[in-house]
Assembly symmetry: C2
Homo-oligomer: 141 residues x 2
DNA sequence: CTTTCTGCAAACTCTTTGCACTCGT
DNA sequence: ACGAGTGCAAAGAGTTTGCAGAAAG
């Protein structure tokens, strides 16, 4: 039950937290292997999952591509370049809504965007006190 | 080169545009098969892709799960219940920033949220006039 | 020493694709 | 009749998992 500090876990964490380029699991594997040539991809996946569960790394799942990992654990958004595939961290300023103007001024061309909120729906919330009864399939936000 | 209106394409579109529950490709397949028992999963995938390219359906890619399809093509956000997995469309009111209060009032428990913007980074934009030169790896937004 | 973790390889899920045939146009 | 689209089945990418042995505490 107790978590062990294996070299592999430390190496995986190190690679992700140092990386600024949102590496995929495969890429993390490649980098970890530079230090531990005998590490296995399965171990890298297991450790990435463990770190994500502890919120020590962040999983970034973008349209159809493989998941990539981000050492930036603070709350922030992402910009995905549809040509080169680069992922840019968009650090949020306070609670201000994202301002596309700022991005455009920095040279980005803005296309679509997706916001997903995770949580519990009214049906699933712990004690449904005050819950609005029927869960709406669509909701004005 | 010309697009054909096959029964399968029409059926796939029909299933997705009528559905309010964000079905996965597998689920769309199941439903299309009720009308065309000989349809293949490959065809469903091909037609979903075609429809998505034409913006007649929307692909919703949520953390690790299989992609699901949304007949709602207007710009909107999503709420994913982490317990039951239900996806709720969050219809946006004008350009107003998403207001979590409204959701909470409706009985939702808000957890994390992810905003991803798609587009072109400064390096990849067509004619890099006025581009800020080096692309930032992180950006204040 | 005990228990968790690892390496390996096989399995699994989701999605794409090659091919011969079908069916819209 | 032409060629885009189909069904089928196999391949592919990404990720997970069972197991025997390694190593952290």
């Amino acid at each position: 039950m107790k978590e062990r500090q294996t070299r592999q876990l430390l190496a995986v964490y190190d690679v992700v937290s140092v990386a600024r380029d949102h590496p995929s699991a495969e890429e993390v594997y490649r980098r970890v292997r530079r230090r531990f040539p005998r590490v296995s991809l399965g171990t890298v996946y297991r450790n990435l999952q463990k770190l994500a569960a502890q919120r020590r790394v962040r999983v970034v799942q973008l349209a159809d591509r493989a998941a990539c990992y981000d050492g930036m654990v603070e709350d922030h958004n992402h910009f995905l370049c549809e040509r080169c595939g680069a992922v840019t961290d968009l650090v949020r300023r306070e609670a201000a809504p994202p301002d596309c103007r700022t991005l455009e001024r920095a040279g980005y061309v803005i296309g679509a965007h997706t916001l997903t909120i995770y949580g519990l729906c009214p049906k699933c919330r712990p004690r449904s006190v005050g819950g609005a009864g029927k869960a709406a399939e669509r909701c004005r936000l």
